[in-house]
């Protein structure tokens, strides 16, 4: 009796104790916007990783020299008030007078040099520096002027200096505390300061009164990690978060019908493709499949695949996407939307009869096409990879292929197939869609784990793109480049993913950025 009573009393004490220990949320009159982030969120040292969804958040906290305009049209000043090309290989940046980091350290030319020098050299495990290999030297002209010299004319200079790793960190503070210390207590120079950090859980940012371009309108922005999309939806409906991205298809109607919540959509800056095996040397393939000759080595087979796929239907199966033929998002001029994103052009590309003709040209009798081993991630970035792959497999079987589809969970797919270089015939993959680095990926110097292509003519066009500053001239080179891309059919582009977001429009006004970044520098309070 006594023991049982003690056990129950102890249990109640434990429960009450637990209730009392958990910290209480701050209650004040500040405007507060909570964004449901699917996580995980990586470290605050912005130079040490590539992960896009963490950089969304970091952009709230750090300034770059310049950054991509929200509407996708050009660049906007941040730490640099203005900038110009001095000549083909030198860019000059004029910094803002009196600008500081959150700790008071000056954002001057020396700080800029320290940052770019840091990011263009190896830091830890993530070799971000290769993206910055175009920089030859950073020269401090005076306290507020800095020159960046490139090795050769660099067509995507502005794009690259405003990409991952562009974030400015305070040199003196960083050197004092080291990388670990900095990740625990970072310091930036962006419009928001960091009020609270709970690693990979909750990041609370507060508007900085001293920001050079004025205090942001919303007082507090919180990135709250909520891994489960269904829990994000519930939190949004409960009024406990204000925005989520990647709204699952079944929840869209519910959210749209909810008071004060609206759905927004914009390119997710993500495209889904099929990778076809075009060689037997790259990655782990030679060890894993020593005697296997992929059918996709035959160009006719690859062309049969590309014409067998109804991209519009695949996009519909995905739930939020548009069929595409080229691997650059449609809002970039390099994506040639009228040619490769046009609905009719994409519809016409689907031609099962032509696919059968290509199979016949490859030596296969009608209905007796080769077996394709097809690997896919169950979800993939942007979702629905399994369902899309199943429908794609049915389309391929319809023209005569036999398809052996294997679905794996995301991490197994990465480890066993996509990043190990074990793509046997075909695999489904989701990739970003910017133009700047793309030509490099298919060049003779680039050896991906899943393909190795060296077409000297294509390579020469890629090289020319990289050094051609004039946009019109560059676009005509891109037209040639795309012809090779389509003809090679190693990467068979399927569709561009649309990000469907849900926002508390009762309280906030947000226009999605063209580049798909969920960063809230421009967030406004709704007109009441």
């Amino acid at each position: 009796m006594k023991t049982a009573r003690i056990l129950i009393i102890a249990s109640l004490v434990l429960l009450l104790g637990a209730l009392a220990i958990v910290p209480a949320a701050a209650q004040d009159g500040m405007s507060e916007f909570v964004f449901a982030h699917g996580g995980p969120i990586r470290p605050m040292d912005a130079h040490s990783h590539w992960y896009g969804s963490t950089h969304w958040m970091l952009k709230l906290y750090y300034d770059c020299l310049i950054w991509r305009a929200a509407d996708g049209d050009g660049y906007v000043p941040e730490a640099a008030q203005s900038w110009e090309a001095v000549n083909d290989t030198t860019w000059r940046f004029h910094l803002r007078e009196g600008a500081t980091f959150h700790n008071g350290e000056p954002v001057d030319a020396a700080a800029v040099k320290w940052n770019i020098d840091r990011v263009r050299h190896p830091i830890g495990d993530i070799p971000l520096y290769q993206q910055w290999a175009f920089v030859k030297e950073v020269v401090v002209v005076d306290e507020l002027t800095v020159d960046i010299h490139t090795n050769e004319p660099h067509a995507y200079f502005e794009y690259d200096v405003s990409y991952n790793g562009c974030e400015l960190l305070p040199p003196a503070y960083f050197e004092e505390v080291g990388q670990e210390g900095f990740n625990r207590a970072p310091v930036g120079s962006g419009p928001y300061t960091l009020a609270e950090i709970s690693e990979n859980d909750r990041y609370v940012f507060e508007a900085w009164d001293d920001y050079h371009s004025g205090r942001p309108e919303v007082d507090r922005v919180i990135y709250q990690v909520i891994p489960e999309p269904s829990a994000q939806v519930a939190a949004l409906l409960a009024g406990q978060v204000d925005m989520m991205t990647g709204v699952p298809v079944p929840d869209r109607a519910t959210l749209e019908g909810a008071d004060g919540i609206s759905l927004l959509s914009e390119s997710a800056n993500l495209m889904h493709h099929l990778y076809a095996r075009v060689d037997t040397e790259s990655g782990a393939f030679p060890e894993t499949f020593p005697d296997y000759q992929p059918a996709t080595l035959d160009h006719n087979v690859r062309m049969a695949i590309t014409h067998a796929l109804d991209r519009h239907l695949l996009a519909e199966v995905h739930g939020a996407a548009q069929g595409r033929l080229a691997r650059v998002c449609s809002y970039y001029p390099e994506g040639f939307a009228d040619k490769y994103a046009d609905a009719d052009v994409v519809a016409d590309w689907y031609n099962p009869d032509m696919a059968r003709e290509y199979l016949a040209a490859a030596g296969y009798a009608e209905g007796e096409g080769p077996t394709l081993y097809f690997d896919t991630d169950a979800v993939s970035r942007g979702g629905s990879a399994k369902e899309v792959s199943e429908v794609a497999a049915a389309m391929l079987e319809d023209v005569g292929f036999t398809v052996d589809l294997t679905v794996r969970d995301s991490s197994a797919f990465s480890v066993e197939v996509s990043r190990a270089g074990n793509n046997r015939d075909l695999m489904h993959i989701a990739l970003g869609c910017g133009p700047a680095l793309l030509p490099l990926f298919y060049g003779c110097d680039w050896s991906s784990v899943n393909y190795s292509i060296c077409n000297e003519e294509w390579d020469a066009v890629a090289d020319a793109i990289q050094v051609t500053i004039d946009m019109d001239e560059r676009l005509s080179l891109w037209e040639q480049w795309w012809q090779h891309y389509i003809d090679t059919a190693q990467t068979i582009t399927l569709y561009e993913v649309t990000n469907v977001m849900a926002l508390n429009t009762g309280e906030f006004d947000f226009t999605p950025r063209k580049d798909g970044w969920m960063t809230f520098r421009g967030l406004k309070l709704a007109d009441m």
Partner: protein, 305 residues
């Protein structure tokens, strides 16, 4: 008693050594973390560079020696993702998981023991049937589903409780209830069967025949003697709570060790996975030792051996 603790300490050391080896090997066999960490477009050279940086190009035995030598001092290495010591990340989260497990255990015990006793006393009655049905339901309900249902009811419709996080005291109620319900279901079944067995014993009949009141017979004579199997199951359930918290923490975005483990496993952040599994194992072993001590306190016939 001293001998008991020394022998248990020796067992603990041996068990933890075996756990460390198993954890190390399983984590390595599950795949190359570099392949998860590297961006999609990385070249083979860049991937090799990352592998060298993290020491995965070294022989497995050498990697284990380095791991165990550091682990003894509490250094499980640096998280590949957070770029901070793995143990530091674990310690930050451990308190939340313990807090959740304690609250869930409290809910579980508070519900299970009265219901189990009542069910045994009213054997084969409507009350027994209802309690049995509820226990079966509690056992069968996936915690993921139950958690979401609670969020929909109490956060979305009633707006009484927060849907996520650990920002205010009441935030613990739903995750603890989700975990506690499963525990209560299993524990109440065990309480019922242990009580039924004890209630049929001679000494209970003797107590009744002596004219003692029903509640004194039940609580002082029967329940006390039924507690040994109940405590055993309670100990096992505590271990289950730690494992179950992995799912519940994800549903409720509770910043505990379970969620850290899920994130780390998904991206093969081996240093954190190793440190986390080590802690789970250590906690589980210590709970079992505590249960052993509790046996002795409950039943004086059991001696420290």
């Amino acid at each position: 008693m001293r001998g008991f603790f020394i022998s248990r300490l020796a067992q603990l050391v041996v068990t933890m050594f075996i756990v460390s080896l198993a954890v190390f090997l399983i984590v390595r066999l599950s795949g190359d973390p570099i392949l998860v960490l590297a961006p999609d477009f990385f070249s083979q050279e860049q991937i090799e560079e990352m592998r060298r940086f993290w020491g995965f190009d070294r022989p497995l035995a050498e990697q284990y020696v380095t791991f165990i030598t550091r682990a003894i001092t509490g250094d499980f290495g640096t998280s590949y993702l957070a770029k901070r010591p793995a143990m530091e990340l674990i310690i930050e989260r451990l308190g939340y998981t313990w807090m959740l497990a304690a609250a869930a255990a409290a809910i579980g015990v508070t519900i299970a023991i009265p219901l189990g006793v009542l069910s045994a006393l009213k054997r084969n009655s409507l009350i027994d049937l209802v309690i049995t049905l509820l226990s079966s339901l509690g056992t069968a309900m996936p915690s993921f589903w139950l958690g979401l249902m609670l969020i929909i009811i109490f956060s979305v419709h009633l707006r009484m409780l927060p849907a996520f996080g650990a920002l205010e005291p009441k935030a613990i109620i739903m995750p603890a209830a989700t975990l506690g319900v499963g525990m209560a279901a299993r524990l109440s079944r065990m309480t019922r069967s242990a009580m039924l067995e004890v209630l049929s014993q001679d000494y209970v009949r003797t107590a009744h025949s002596k004219g003692l009141k029903q509640n004194i017979v039940v609580l002082r004579h029967a329940l006390r003697n039924a507690l040994i199997p109940i405590v055993t199951v309670f100990g096992l359930q505590l271990g289950w709570l730690l494992g179950g918290s992995v799912v519940v923490e994800s549903v409720f975005s509770w910043p505990g060790l379970g969620r850290l483990m899920i994130d780390s496993i998904n991206v093969r952040d081996n240093t954190v996975v190793q440190a986390g599994l080590f802690w789970f194992a250590l906690t589980f072993i210590l709970i079992n030792y505590a249960i052993d001590v509790l046996y002795i306190l409950l039943d004086p016939r059991i001696k420290f051996e």
